[in-house]
Symmetry: C2
Subunit: 137 residues, 2 copies
DNA sequence: ATTACATATGTAATATTATAACACTTAGAG
DNA sequence: CTCTAAGTGTTATAATATTACATATGTAAT
């Protein structure tokens, strides 16, 4: 090994708390609430709400997760790069959330914004739907 | 006057609590928080959070006001009929909120939704901007 | 290695936002 | 009038989020 430890990639420089919160959201795939995260990670050493909220804030800032405001929950980012523009479907019946990947839709919205000269820095789109399993029942 | 008292128009059938909450939001024009509304209407006889939340819930249901989830606030509906589809700009610096009236934008989004066969029941669009006064300073 | 700085941590206390439970009242339909 | 749905008033409590402050850690320059 050379003397320069080049493996300290910036993208991997999450702290312990940030890492365990991110891992939980990653493994879950669903939106999780802050206090649920806290309960789930008690055994990993998280003791207070603030530890969770600080990790969540940072991860949102880094674009690795998103907050879904209408349900006070956080979800892993499903796209490679949202540039802090987000779009979700939310089932009105069961609350299930999915990040929208449809590039045509998001590009279309971006175009509309440009056409209207709205000087928007970012957007959050929440589409309410009836999900497949709720439609059946 | 005929014996049928037809002046009990459904659209005016708000209860006292619903009416005073709606009036406050109407007069303000800004997004207000539930507990601010409570404080403001103490003198009108509102004593508990529930009285406010119940009135707000009903007014949202009637489409007369909207909730802006990301700031836990409520604002009077600025349009004649949103059909529960909403779109707002939110200033990232000062938090100022405006309901978007731009029909081209909202219709455009509706078209995108149709084109993508997304079967959406309603949507909420939050566009983050830098408002005029914040841009100057 | 020492310093300086920015960032993160741990902890307790507290603030803010929202709902549950229950007894009672009112308005409108038939 | 009687019945019912909706609304009210009140107390207590749950759920979500932040303030404050002392301590620790990572990074880079000296
Ligand atoms: Zn994303
Ligand atoms: Zn569903
Ligand atoms: Zn509206
Ligand atoms: Zn502003």
């Amino acid at each position: 090994m050379s003397s320069t430890h080049t493996h300290s990639k910036k993208s991997q420089s999450l702290t312990k708390n940030q890492r365990i919160v991110l891992d939980l959201l990653q493994n879950s795939g669903e939106p999780l609430k802050a206090y649920f995260i806290l309960d789930s990670l008690k055994k990993e050493g998280l003791n207070s709400p603030l530890q969770v909220y600080r990790a969540l804030d940072k991860l949102v800032e880094l674009g690795k997760i998103h907050k879904i405001e209408s349900i006070n929950s956080f979800i892993i980012c499903n796209n490679s790069n949202c540039a802090s523009n987000t779009a979700f479907t939310i089932c009105e019946r069961c609350g299930k959330v999915k990040e929208i990947k449809n590039k045509y839709l998001t590009d279309g919205v971006s175009d509309l914004v440009k056409d209207n000269q709205l000087e928007i820095t970012r957007y959050n789109l929440e589409f309410y739907v009836l999900c497949k399993s709720c439609k059946i029942n």
